[in-house]
């Protein structure tokens, strides 16, 4: 009894520790991506911890609210942050078990991310700006294609691992069957990577460094946010990117047999690696024309479907 209790406490502590690592290092991932991009294109670029500095600066500023906006706009950053934090509670960040784990928690993961997006879109519409409306429209368009792709990946993981909760899908059970499901895992990693680029507004779907409002998607939706609100939104965005990165890490790096500190070190290394990978994509690819983006997302989903078919034949 005491042994199982201490095991529970240990796994809880390990999950909390991994959650802490993610929360602290999340702003680093976009920074690493930006630095990689700068180096590959022959520039020095801002330091990798630039986003921390930005967040700190924004947090100490005042706020400007558009006279058109209502309480929705004020609520948007708060909901976005809270929903993204909750979504990270169901991902097994230490490679073993998430803080919360129950059957069907993958649906909750997608649901909370969708809640964040819903508020982002409404917040953008709340300003009455045509630019923000445009960004919102594009965001929901691409998200409605990403969501089925993401669920294909979840289904494939569920079949591959035999589990119904994300902790089982991405934890030890998956790696016990590695010899059988290896091709599927490779395909799913590709699929999740492409979907991550689309969902987290990176090149080739969106460009986080663009300066032209007409071409922005995510950036334009936060045009009217300022001060602490903008800080919360930027942090949530970085956290979402790190969450997808964590799923990727769970997919390709077995960590269930490692001690807690090893798993966390690998999590940190993995987050950096994903940041570098995103940066490489950003420096080697141009942005796609908007009508081409659905095809890009569909290719990601097709990879996942291919993996699913391989499993279910």
């Amino acid at each position: 009894m005491t042994a199982s209790l201490s095991a529970t406490v240990q796994s809880l502590l390990s999950a909390l520790g991994a959650l802490g690592v993610l929360f602290v290092f999340a702003p680093l991932v976009p920074g690493v991506a930006r630095k990689t991009r700068a180096i590959l294109t022959g520039r020095r670029g801002p330091p990798v911890w630039q986003l921390y500095a930005d967040l700190w600066k924004l947090a100490r500023k005042g706020a400007v609210y558009s006279v058109t906006t209502t309480w929705i706009f004020r609520l948007t950053p708060l909901v976005t942050l809270a929903a993204t934090l909750l979504a990270s509670a169901v991902i097994p960040l230490d490679g073993k078990r998430a803080l919360l784990s129950f059957s069907g928690d993958a649906v909750a993961f997608a649901g909370f991310l969708a809640l964040a997006r819903y508020f982002m879109v409404l917040g953008a519409m709340d300003t009455g700006s045509s630019f923000e409306g445009m960004g919102a429209s594009r965001d929901v368009t691409f998200a409605s294609l990403v969501e089925p792709g993401l669920f294909v990946a979840f289904v494939a993981l569920s079949v591959a691992s035999g589990g119904l909760s994300l902790s089982n899908m991405l934890g030890a059970d998956l790696w016990l069957r590695w010899s059988v499901v290896a091709p599927t895992i490779v395909l799913l990693a590709g699929s999740v990577f492409l979907l991550m680029l689309a969902e987290c507004a990176r090149v080739p779907v969106d460009d986080p460094t663009t300066h032209l409002e007409l071409t922005m998607i995510h950036e334009v939706m936060v045009l009217d946010s300022s001060g602490p609100d903008l800080a919360l939104l930027l942090y949530s965005q970085a956290l979402k990117l790190s969450l997808f990165a964590a799923i990727l890490i769970d997919l390709v790096l077995p960590r269930s047999s490692l001690p807690a500190w090893g798993a966390m070190a690998l999590l940190g290394a993995g987050l950096t690696a994903v940041g570098v990978a995103v940066g490489i994509v950003e420096s080697t690819m141009a942005r796609l024309r908007l009508p081409k983006v659905p095809l890009f997302i569909a290719s990601g989903a097709a990879l996942g479907l291919f993996g699913l078919i391989l499993l279910m034949r």
């Binding site: 929705i72 919360l100 909750a108 649901g111 519409m125 700006s129 409605s144 294609l145 990403v146």
Partner: protein, 653 residues
């Protein structure tokens, strides 16, 4: 508890009668409303007690009734629907009475009130009747009552046309039901549902005929694609509280019918039926929400969302019945529970949305999305209630829509683990995800274009908040949506008990039927955690802004000074990327010319299939016209010829 149902029915009939008797008195509305609410409350109590205590009681009419014994009973399945009828009926009556009161000068009010009370009573009768004849009678009263309410504003040609389409569709469905019951009762000893259930094993082909006809008959009522074509015009034409009742419960009676047939058949439905239901569900869901995105009329848009949600319910029913066939106990129970819970949830949030649309229509005089905007400031309470409904229908935590969609998802996920062909059902998962994401796009559009931003027309600018009597029913419905989302077990447990009563043999084999309910507790915990985190984030921001300057300014329009409300993104432009992604399936017809753009959405089934087919029928019918001579002796001649032909047939055969 059947006595309480009859008491409720009596109160509703009294309400209908009172509104006629007192039609010239000023107290008519108050008396009607009191009686109707009491009636609904009695029905609701009856349903709740069955759901909680689980006892079912039956009443058998002893008088010599046509068609054998007339049995009335409330079991768990009936009770789920009866509860929805009571809740939505009460809200519709409470909202509708003040809502149509201003029309008293030019319309007989008592008629609309009586028809509403009769419709609610008929709905309650349909779900409690356990014999063919009373079921079909109640079914027809329900159909006619809905028709009378749809054509309330019959001075409009579009309303008359919508009514005509509805009445044709509903009678086509009734015809299928007649055929279904006729082919079934041949094998039964009498016409009560109990006898039909007893006869189920002797039906040929595992009851293929019955199930097929049930899918058509009940499908026409439920409005699944391709039988949905009557639904958008009818919902758009009816007054708001009637649309709420139609979408909230009338179409759900189709779902009730399917569940009832499955439960009467007892055994697992055949494979083809389960697959067909699952497929039709996925198709209805995706096409329903896609077509909703293209609408300009807020009520038509909401009506297409009913098609979508019927699709989600059918996916639950389909995966459940497949699970039954393949012997997967958990799957059956979860699928059925998801379908039943979503039925109730959809009844709640969809009626809420229709009531909200009614207030918008009332306040601005238009239902056209392109002419609205900025109503959040002018109708703050309506907006809050509508927002809750919109968030719930998208299936987002922490509201009730998420709980039932989560259940349907779980059913589909479990199907993936089957070793048999059942695992193909897992393809429903991406379909459901697509439905959810498109619904998010659509309601972000509605909420954003109607309530947020700046007003796009003078009528939207001058809108005023509705009277409190209209807001109370909406608040009640919104409260239910929140409650069932934050405490999911409140809904999941009774729904699961009802699902178990549909498949008792399966449910008995389930090792731990409460496992799913325990998981639902986690969903509730996450919902509460969200609220806690929100409060913490709120406090954090407040702290950060305490010593800082908070200013108000114009919306940043990228340096351009002359921004006007007309430059806002419109409903059409918001939906444009999705419409072009889905191409011709979305059914949008665009008209472009220099400086103008106009688009309208076709209903691909009605405009491309049903109406052209009707044209052909009409033309063929014209050829038969010479038969009609208008002279009595000619008709007598026809009768005689027919008689002779029949006699000859008998003689030869």
């Amino acid at each position: 508890m059947i006595a309480a149902v009859f008491a409720g029915l009596a109160l509703l009939l009294a309400a209908a009668f009172a509104s006629w008797v007192l039609r010239r008195r000023p107290s008519a509305d108050a008396v009607f409303l009191t009686l109707a609410l009491l009636g609904c409350a009695t029905l609701g109590i009856a349903a709740l007690s069955v759901l909680v205590a689980g006892e079912t009681s039956a009443f058998v009419m002893r008088a010599a009734t046509p068609g054998g014994r007339w049995v009335f009973a409330v079991d768990r399945l009936s009770a789920v629907f009866l509860l929805a009828i009571a809740m939505i009926g009460a809200s519709a009556a409470a909202f509708g009475t003040p809502y149509i009161a201003p029309q008293r000068s030019h319309r007989p009010m008592w008629f609309a009130h009586s028809a509403l009370a009769m419709l609610i009573a008929a709905l309650a009768l349909v779900v409690t009747a356990q014999s063919i004849i009373p079921f079909l009678c109640a079914w027809e009263i329900m159909a006619i009552g809905s028709y009378l309410l749809i054509v309330t504003e019959d001075e409009e040609p579009t309303v008359r046309r919508a009514g005509l389409i509805y009445i044709v569709a509903t009678h086509a469905g009734t015809l299928a039901l007649f055929a279904m019951f006729a082919s079934w009762s041949v094998y039964a000893t009498d016409w009560s549902f109990g006898a039909l259930a007893a006869a189920a094993p002797s039906l040929p082909n595992q009851g293929a005929m019955v199930l097929g006809l049930a899918l058509i008959g009940f499908g026409l009522k439920a409005g699944l694609v391709p039988f949905h074509f009557w639904l958008p015009p009818a919902h758009a034409a009816a007054p708001a509280h009637v649309s709420a009742l139609l979408s909230g419960v009338v179409i759900k009676i189709g779902i009730y019918g399917m569940f009832r047939v499955v439960s009467l058949l007892g055994g697992p439905p055949p494979l083809w039926w389960g697959w067909t239901v699952l497929l039709l569900g996925a198709v209805s869901g995706v096409l329903g929400v896609l077509w909703a995105l293209t609408q300009h009329d807020i009520k038509r848009l909401l009506a297409y969302h009913s098609v979508e949600n019927i699709g989600i319910i059918l996916m639950g029913l389909g995966v459940g019945s497949l699970g039954m066939r393949y012997g997967d106990v958990a799957l059956t129970l979860i699928g059925y529970t998801g379908a039943l819970l979503h039925t109730v949830n959809h009844a709640l949030f969809k009626s809420l949305l229709f009531l909200g649309a009614g207030i918008v229509n009332h306040a601005t005089g238009t239902r056209n999305l392109e002419r609205l905007g900025g109503l959040a400031r002018r109708l703050p309470f309506t907006w809050l209630a509508f927002f809750v409904g919109a968030t719930a229908i998208v299936g987002l935590p922490p509201l009730n829509g998420f709980v039932s969609e989560w259940l349907v998802y779980q059913g589909l996920f479990r199907a993936a683990h089957s070793g048999e062909l059942l695992r193909l059902a897992v393809l429903g998962v991406p379909a459901l995800a697509l439905i959810g994401a498109l619904a998010l796009a659509c309601f972000a559009k509605v909420a954003g274009v109607v309530f947020l931003g700046s007003p796009r027309s003078a009528s939207a600018r001058d809108a005023h908040e509705a009277d409190r009597s209209l807001l109370v029913p909406m608040a009640a419905l919104a409260g239910m949506c929140v409650l069932l989302g934050v405490v999911p077990t409140l809904g999941v447990d009774p729904a699961m008990a009802a699902a178990a009563s549909v498949a008792p043999a399966v449910a008995a084999a389930m090792p731990d039927p409460l496992a799913v309910a325990r998981n639902a507790t986690w969903v509730g915990a996450m919902a509460i955690a969200l609220l806690v985190l929100l409060a913490m984030a709120f406090a954090l921001r407040r702290r950060m802004l305490r010593q800082r300057e908070v200013r108000a300014a114009e919306t940043w329009s990228c340096g351009f000074a002359g921004a006007s409300p007309r430059m806002q993104y419109t409903s059409s432009s918001f939906a444009a990327p999705l419409v072009s992604t889905f191409g011709r399936v979305s059914g949008v017809v665009e008209h472009r010319a220099a400086g103008t753009y106009h688009s309208h959405a076709l209903d691909l089934v009605l405009d491309r299939l049903a109406l052209p087919a009707w044209e052909h029928v009409h033309r063929a019918a014209l050829r038969l016209r010479p038969i009609q001579q208008g002279r009595l002796y000619v008709y007598l001649l026809y009768v005689m010829v027919a008689l002779l032909v029949l006699l000859a047939y008998l003689a030869l055969a």
